[in-house]
Assembly symmetry: C2
Homo-oligomer: 322 residues x 2
């Protein structure tokens, strides 16, 4: 299916100006010149039809979601995404020129927005599966990890929470009436990886993670990696008014454990919070303080919400499968 990859790479002709690509698509492998003084950052993510997106999704929607979800992992490291490879497995009956054009357009539009170069990959016949490996750079020892949170640190989240779950409920018609707004649809198929904020936080945040499985689950990862506990004030959780109004019953649960938000959760030593608060006030970043880190205590749950142990429900991975 080399021809399919040719179609995809055609859309990247205008996107070959990225720094560091010594040899892109067309040989056995890509050759990349790394910037001296930088570490290589690598993350792989897979999207499967019926699991991560419904069969009704268009090629363009699938492509934008796949790349944005992957970029979110890079954002959480405070790294600058630069290059990616694509493994596209696609049923022959799906691989029409129109579908491939839409897919390529979607991929190219996100690549352009984040100044990424597609450096290789392959296309295979089979069930629709998209696996992307993103390569990024971060100054040596400058990456944001999950493991640096300390008792006393403030906990922040970017953007609004619960949008991903609200969109999912609407797309799967799990809610009573269809209230799928343009904003929600876009949040689902084109999440907004917080790359710029991640880079700004590099010298400040003590820990960082992207919220893919819900705030409680992902903050839980920070707590385990840092050996601390956390307290969240639910009143402070940033929930979009639209989601609050349309889903009064579920919006809080979704904000806590809905997943698919692809915002960042980060912790900040109190003495560094002034800088971030000033960025927030001046509109440079969109983030909200939602709680604080406390010392590890083996007798209680890792995360308290409004003073009570949070009960997290494991997030199902097969939203769309029967």
């Amino acid at each position: 299916m080399a021809s399919e990859f040719t179609v995809i790479s055609r859309y990247f002709k205008d996107l070959t100006g990225q720094q560091g690509v010594a040899l892109g698509i067309g040989d056995d492998a890509a050759l990349i010149n790394m910037t001296p003084g930088q570490q290589l950052v690598a993350a792989t993510d897979t999207l499967v039809e019926g699991v991560h997106f419904p069969s009704s999704a268009s090629g363009e929607q699938i492509a934008t979601r796949a790349l944005c979800v992957n970029l979110s992992d890079i954002a959480a490291m405070g790294a600058k995404p630069k290059w990616f490879t694509l493994a596209l497995t696609i049923p022959p009956e799906t691989a029409s020129p129109k579908w491939l054009e839409g897919f390529s357009c979607g991929l190219a539009s996100v690549a352009k927005a984040f100044d990424l170069a597609l450096v290789g990959g392959d296309t295979t016949a089979g069930p629709l599966t998209i696996s992307i490996t993103l390569l990024a750079e971060v100054p040596i020892d400058g990456a944001l990890l999950r493991s640096g949170a300390k008792a006393g640190d403030y906990i922040y989240v970017t953007g609004t929470l619960g949008d991903g779950a609200a969109a999912l409920a609407e797309i799967t018609h799990a809610s009573d009436e269809n209230k799928l707004t343009e904003r929600l649809l876009s949040r689902f198929y084109r999440p907004q990886p917080q790359v710029e904020i991640g880079i700004k936080l590099r010298a400040l945040a003590s820990a960082c993670i992207d919220i893919s499985d819900g705030l409680l689950a992902d903050l839980g990862h920070i707590c385990r990696a840092s050996n601390v506990c956390a307290e969240i004030n639910s009143q402070q959780l940033p929930i979009h008014p639209e989601v609050k109004a349309n889903h009064a019953q579920q919006s809080l649960v979704w904000a806590l454990s809905g997943g698919d938000d692809y915002q960042l959760c980060f912790t900040l030593p109190q003495n560094l919070s002034q800088q971030v608060d000033q960025w927030i006030k001046s509109g440079q970043i969109n983030a909200t303080m939602v709680g604080h880190i406390v010392a590890a205590n083996n007798d209680k749950e890792a995360i308290l919400v409004d003073g009570k142990p949070a009960i997290t429900t494991p997030r199902g991975y097969d939203h769309f499968s029967s």
Copy 2:
């Protein structure tokens, strides 16, 4: 399905000594320290059940084949493979502890043989698909490309050709009687990526490619990239006596266009051939001179075999699908 990835990563506990891994599995992305003076080499390959391996294949067989096929691309660049990410999509009913153990063991055994570190990836529920991104290093401007062949260069191949196609025919029972030997089975599920030879050829070969789609198809890529033609002497093609004896009718066609051999095809300026011939004589490398490069001639086919235009049959990608 994080637990599946935990099973896999458990088998890599003994394999974490590789140079350069600053942060492996367990954060949002991996952090890697590149060696100064080296370029990054990246290649992605996907294996799909029913397309690249039959449903009867074991987890161990699938893992070894996936990693070796990918390593072959790196070998063709003359690069040193170092790190890889794994995207495993697997049906829940397949993901038994036994299957995952076999898969992990296979992966770990190849990783150990080539001194590779698994730095990340994810496991997803869905149709069985394995996508691996291999990351390697090569001295700046030292990589072997497809584009450097010149008229007069000798053409060499490593190992024997036609083994992959013979194994495939036996596995799919396309041949009259089952003559699937241990050697052939092993060639199919554990190809022998010519990493060491690729590195040795760095300062010598004018062009190099790995033979995944058959000698004619892959040598054709060198011809196009280098704007030259080629002449092959079929008498010189290295075919294993076993394949010759068991498949007298097909062995030559398989050696020319069978695919799945994962040997290297490289071109060598005549004045540098002495060094390689000496390595061959002393048993340091296993390679055979099979022809030579001639000037491009738009009036004839790119490749002549025994003086006649070679008719290449496009290789089907769906060997195992119905």
